[in-house]
Amino acid sequence: MSFNIQKIREDFPILSRKVNGYPLVYLDNAATSQKPQQVIDSIVDYYSNYNANIHRGVHTLSQEATDAYESARQKIKTHFNAKEVYEIIFTAGTTHGINLVANGFSDILKKDDEILVSAMEHHSNIVPWQMLCDRTGADLKVIPMNEEGTLIMEEYAKLLSERTKLVFVNHISNALGTINPIEEIIQKAHEVGAAVLIDGAQSCSHIKPDFQKLDVDFYVTSAHKMCGPTGVGILFMKEEWGNKLPPYQGGGEMIAEVTFEKTTYAGLPHKFEAGTPNICGGIAFGAAIDYLNAIGFEAIEQHENELLEYATEKLLEIDGLKIYGTGHKTSVVSFNIEGIHPYDIGTIVDKLGIAVRTGHHCAQPIMDFYKIPGTVRASFAFYNTMEEVDALVNAVKKAKYMLS
């Protein structure tokens, strides 16, 4: 498929609606993406035609649902180039995946072991590790970042030691858009024998990570940021880790004793998938991956970079506007205007039909670092247009005029 922005926009029904009397300009893609008709259809198709519980029935519907669900897992495996399909564990989303890993490390970590996290983490990425440290007596260390919002790799190297057991970094920062050098982070961690968990919640809609090439131990992401539905995601876990970590939720081991022939799932990935999963969500996640691949990640990246460049240039023409996160980054512009509260800007641009995020983006440590209450964040997706960037810039100018 060649990159035809008008045709792509037609796939997204929501993009033609109006908000407050203006055409919707949706620039909150880092919070969640919109859904194309193909994904919506896959949900309707599932519930209309073959809704059944999976992995259990010998009846036709159950077989069809199981096949669709497992074929989605296969699509995800291929997409991310995992070595084995059972290394892909379906979760309720990124946060669930992180907690699953953190819980698994409760039995592995000992007092004085260390966990490293980056200074640009989302709250959901800090709290589970603090809880884990409380339980185990391990220490949490922070990899610092510099003023442009880039991790200081020299400091990272200094923090690594034989005490380091786990390194946890987001692939792309939700508040700043910074793309972290995870190849180098993983390689350095492995040199001291530490495992690495990467949070890909923000990355997988923009780029296509290759799990085998990265040699990553754990990688988590959410479907809803990638044109899929909410409430479903994946945890990639290298086979050796999958065998080492205990089940997260009770039920997994018990299920192995159930005597349904064909369906004893004590092994991977079912060990970590207790209970009836989000079947429809998994299938729709597969449809979303098909959709994104049909457009192609190279085309997506190129278009989003053009949007980012244009938005950055136009916004910086506004007097007193400062952008946070100016290193190697993806299509996120986090900014403030001197003397104006981000909440005020967000309120005015919303009245003009433009959806941006304001606040601390669940990343208070970053806001503390810059000594600001929050930012206005515009985050672009491949279905956004240059005209929408213009609409944003004009709305911000209008807000500035009204508020100063």
Binding site: N20, I340, H341, Y343, D344, T347, I348, K351, T358, G359, P373, G374, M402, L403
Partner: protein, 141 residues
């Protein structure tokens, strides 16, 4: 002036505006004209939770009436506070407790009444009524 009369006055003032932009510009002006409060009153005790912007609300009882003073770091929020202070300050606690807040809808700021809205208009009203209740209890005893 009674709370009701002030509310009527506000509805009247806002009725001349034709669109949201004029309403917001007026609200921003109201925010700018809100009397400044002492910095030492802007402490965590006076902070209202549930706002994306910071809101400090102070109250004192004078001659049987509550005097509210408030501030915010965001100007639209400050405008909303200015409206609330105008309606509820210098009123008797029982009158504040009895007052309804339908006028918010009538002046075209209904969207700010949603409890999920992060500006905390609902929290502000609740906090003002809490103070009124506390003072009323004090008076009754």
């Amino acid at each position: 002036m009674t709370i009701e009369a002030i509310q009527e006055e506000l509805i009247d003032e806002f009725s001349i505006f034709e669109d949201w932009m004029q309403r917001y510009e007026y609200m921003i002006d109201l925010g700018k004209s809100l009397p400044l409060i002492d910095d030492d009153l802007k402490n965590d005790d006076k902070l209202i939770k549930g706002c994306q912007s910071k809101v400090w609300l102070n109250s004192e009882l004078k001659d049987g009436k509550i005097i509210f003073t408030a501030d915010s770091d965001a100007i639209i929020t400050k405008g909303i506070i200015a409206i609330l202070v105008r309606v509820f300050s210098n009123q008797k606690p029982q009158e504040i407790l009895d007052a309804n807040t339908d006028f918010i809808d009538e002046i075209g700021l209904k969207e700010h009444l949603s409890p999920t809205r992060a500006n905390g208009l609902v929290s502000m009203i609740k906090q003002m009524k809490m103070y009124a209740l506390a003072y009323q209890t004090q008076i009754n005893n």
